[in-house]
Every structure is written in C-alpha cells, then in structure tokens.
Amino acid sequence: MEEVELNKEFITSQLTSSFGHYIINSEETYGMITITVDRSKILEIMNYLYLDPKLSFTFLTDLTGVHFPEPKDELGVVYHLHNLPANIRLRIKTFFPKSDSVIDSLTSLFSSANFMERETYDFFGIIFKGHPNLKRILNVDDLDYFPLRKEYALEDSTRTDKDDTMFGRG
C-alpha cells in the first residue's frame, strides 16, 4: 500500500467519493480536521472510517452532545476519532433538529461508545438507536428533563436555602 498523507483533502475526498452529498462540510480548525456529516449515514461513515485500511480511525476518543438554540434549535453529536499509528485526529459532527433527536448508536463498532452515548442521552435527550441499554447514567432516574439543554437553568429551582438575588441571579 502506498503511503498517503492523511490530510483534510485526502480524508474528505475519500468520504465524498463514497458518501457524496452526505458529507456536508469539511474544515480544519485549531489543527483538527472537522467534517460535518448527515446523521442518517453516521454509522456507515464511522464503519468506513474504521475499516478502510488507509484511514483506519479505530479509536473513539470522545463522543458528546451539544445544543445550539440559535438559529434553528438544533442538537448535535460530536465525535473525536483518532488514528493511533498515524497520530491523526478527526472530528465528526452531525446536527439535527431538537424535535427529532434520533441517531444511530455506535456501540456495535466501539464498546467505549456505550457510556458516552448514555451520558449524551442523559444530558441532551438524544436517542441512540440500537443502543443496548439506553437509560440515564449520571442523573437520578426520575429526572424529567435533560439538564444540559440550554433552556434549563443550572440551579435547582426547588432549593430553598439560597436566595438567588444574593448571588446576582435574581
């Protein structure tokens, strides 16, 4: 196999040739290749990145959610992948409306995705389709909202001992 440099152009062209318009955007910010993809193909794209011998992004460093209330009230999932032998990191992002927050689970590919997806569900209410045990992980089971969404306050509104006006939050 000939040596290729794993740069933004190469990774993007490889992905685009296989997935076409499902690859929405690619850029490089602060030294990290960032590719935005469509969520409907996320599992296939991850599979491809994992299995392709030239790419082989086989280490899932991180998986997390993010909520953008402006402009379209979208939730996103951000994956950080790492090709350990070549030491290249890759960030994959995907966004979808909050009203329809469903995405494929990566647990079939990475065992490490299990807790991270549960955490993301717990924080943002993103449903990971195909997850073996998708339930709250950090919060109490009967919490009735997803606390890291931007519309919810940090503080517990039912607490009685702290006067918000004293903390400049009133």
């Binding site: 910010t29 602060y30 997390t64 350990l84 030491n87 960030r91 065992s111 807790f115 940090l154």
Partner: protein, 406 residues
C-alpha cells in the same frame, strides 16, 4: 524495564459450582472497597461473578453545565475537582486549552514549571492508586510508608500555590508566581527522598508472594479490547500499547525531556501496578531534568489582556487596574472557535472540548474523562473472577469518582 516476565500460572481449585441458582450481591455504593461511590450489582455463582451491572453518578456535580456559567478563569477551580488526586494536571490542561483558543505562547520557563508540577502530581496520583491497591490486597504497611511522601508533595504544592489538594495552580498565560529558591530546594530534596521511599515501597510489593498471587492474572484485558473500550493512560499501557499523549502530542515542552514509556504485557492488575510504579520513576527523571535546566525568564506570558497584573500594580497604576477589572469582570476578547486539547492525566488522556461563541463564558465545555470511558470495561474484566479479585481489579484501575461522575 522491570516488568516481570515470569510466566506464572494461577492455580485455582474453585470450579464453578453451578447449582442452577445465582446469588445477587450488591457491592456499593458505600462499601469500603468501592472507594466511595460505585455500585456494582453482581450475579454470583458461589464465589464467582457471572455478570455484573455498574451504576455510577452518585456524585454527579454537573461540571459541564457549571462551566457554561463561569468566566474562563473561574473554570480552573472546577477542574480541580475532576480528578482530585492530580488536580494540577487538570488545571494545566484547562489553561493550555484556553491558551490554545486564544493563541497564547507561553515562555519556556512556564512550560518547565508546569512539567515539574504535573509530574509531581502524577506521582501523587499513582502513589495513591498503588498504595490503596496494597490496602485492598491486605497490605496496609506500604500505604502508611508512602503516604509520608505524599505529604511532602503536598507541602511543595502548598508552598507554590497555597493549597494542598484542590490547588487551582497557575493561570491562563503562565504561573501566578515564580518558584522561590526554597521550593526548588524542596523539590530536589523530595527527589532524593522519594527515590529511597519508592525503592522501599517496591521491595514491599514487587516480589511479594502474596501480592503477586492476588494480582497476577487478575482483571486482565487484551490490547484489542482495551483500545475498543477507549482505554488510555497506564491502564492501556499495561495492556501493551505505548500510547502516551506526552509523546504523541507533546505539549508544554515535553519533547525536551528524555523519558521512557513503560508498558506491560498482560494488562492485568499486576501489570497496571508495575506500569504505575515505573511511571513514577520516569516522572522523577523528568522532574530532575526540568529542574536542572530550568530556563531563566518570566513566569508568565506577556498577555496583559488575560493575565492578572500583580496586586501592588493594581493598587498604584491606572492601566493595571483597568486590566484587572476587565479580566475579573470577564470583559476580555475571547475568540470564537472550537478546540480539542488533551493532556496525559493521571489516568490517561484528559481531553477538553471547548466551544467558544466569543462570550465571556464557554458555550460548551466537555471534559473527556479517561476514567469514565474505561470504567465501562469493568463489567467485562471481572466476569468469571472471584469476588476478592473484583475488589483488587477495581482498585488497580484507579477509579476516581469525581472524574467518572463529572
């Protein structure tokens, strides 16, 4: 490399009893062997674990939400409480993330000072893990011996920043004050003392028949599974993968120093113990090199927009007062952007994923906590092992509740 290569086959006479009836055993969250706050519901067949389910979140403190409500410089105290056994590494990792976003270059002296502090706290972290592993295996003496040295490290931290455990050490852009000669003398003395203490500690454990019987072949994981489970740090290196952020993505001038990455072979409890011990030796090496060639210069970058001016100037000079006010009120220009930065924490790759929308507070800050990610392998690692091995395995993974539950 002193990692033992003896091929010791663990003898066991305990065959599964399989009476067709399993016992459910609740281990935690207040069980002393779970170090605080992990719950494992084990399905036991006699003494053997058939399956288990771990529950975490018992000290979930909402760090990530909290970070969205704090100006940048106020986030450092939160990072202290992530992995509280090695708070300075968390602090430095956060400072470096913010510096990466803003684009601050730190002087060499700052880098070296940071390396010294980070390696000291790595020693403190590994020391707790290994000595508590001894306690869980029934050897209390090593813990009592080595904890005197941890006090020495805390003494150094206290002189550097005023706190022992939750240090809040350093600032965005550098260190809050320079090392005094007495700090440097103290670190040199610690290096000498610790060499002896670690030798003593190793002689208590490394070839201790009982300790070896308790740990070799216990709670092992293969390199492939470890990578798939997202292991990093000493636990991954014990499985034989030489991945270390200090080497692959050198930060803070780590490439100036000569050190080895110790690796294990089997990924079992004994290997994890040995890798941590070896890493403490390597840390001592790094600290000595950094101290010997500590460059002269300022202890902070020249960035008045982000680095608090000295107090006497704030009281006497208008310009310094304005900067002070702007920083404290969070009226500084933070660029928009998205940064992932990672450091080699006590337990592995400690990552900070920061989204800034240009406001005084981060739009989103996510911590990649190594412990949280590798803890999910625990269920697989203890499958089929004895109950007493569960305790030892858990201990050797260095599970820090603050980090796991965030």
């Amino acid at each position: 490399m002193t990692i033992s290569e003896i091929n010791y086959k663990k003898e066991t006479t305990l065959e599964p009893i399989n009476l067709g009836q399993l016992t459910t055993l609740n281990l935690g969250p207040t069980h002393p062997a779970t170090h605080g706050v992990f719950q494992n519901i084990l399905q036991m067949d006699g003494e053997r674990v058939v399956s288990s389910e771990s529950t975490i979140g018992y000290i979930h403190r909402a760090f990530e939400k909290l970070a969205e409500r704090r100006p940048f410089y106020q986030i450092t105290p939160i990072t202290d409480r992530l992995n509280y056994c090695s708070s300075p590494i968390n602090n430095m990792g956060w400072h470096m993330t913010a510096e990466k976003l803003i684009g601050i270059e730190t002087p060499k002296r700052v880098d070296y000072m940071r390396v010294i502090i980070m390696e000291l706290s790595r020693i403190a972290d590994h020391l707790i893990c290994n000595s508590i592993l001894g306690v869980d295996a029934g050897a209390f003496t090593g813990f009592l011996y080595i904890f005197q040295q941890r006090e020495a490290i805390y003494d150094i931290f206290e002189e550097i920043c005023g706190a022992r455990l939750t240090t809040n050490i350093g600032r965005i852009g550098g260190m809050e004050r320079d090392f005094t000669p007495s700090i440097i003398a103290k670190i040199y003395r610690f290096l000498d003392d610790y060499t002896l203490a670690l030798k003593e500690f190793e002689s208590l454990f490394n070839r201790n028949r009982i300790f070896m019987d308790r740990t070799i072949g216990v709670g092992g994981i293969s390199a492939e599974r470890a990578l798939n489970y997202g292991f990093t740090g000493p636990n991954l290196r014990a499985a034989g993968v030489d991945y270390d952020v200090r080497v692959t993505t050198p930060y803070s001038s780590y490439n100036d120093f000569d050190f080895d990455i110790p690796i294990g072979k089997n990924g079992d409890t004994y290997d994890r113990f040995m890798v941590r011990n070896e890493e403490m030796w390597e840390s001592l090496k790094i600290i000595r090199q950094a101290l010997d060639k500590l460059p002269a210069g300022k202890h902070h970058a020249d960035v008045p927009d982000f680095y608090l001016p000295p107090k006497e100037q704030v009281y006497n000079h208008m310009e310094a007062l304005i900067y002070h006010f702007k920083i404290v009120m969070g009226e500084i220009e933070i660029p928009k952007g998205e940064v992932y930065n990672c450091v080699e924490g006590g337990n592995g790759e400690l990552g900070y994923y920061l989204i800034s929308d240009g406001g005084r507070m981060p739009f989103r800050l996510h911590f990649r906590r190594p412990g949280f990610i590798y803890y999910q392998a625990f269920e697989e690692m203890i499958k089929g092992s004895l109950l007493s091995d569960v305790v030892v395995t858990m201990s050797s993974l260095n599970l820090i509740a603050g980090e796991i539950d965030a």
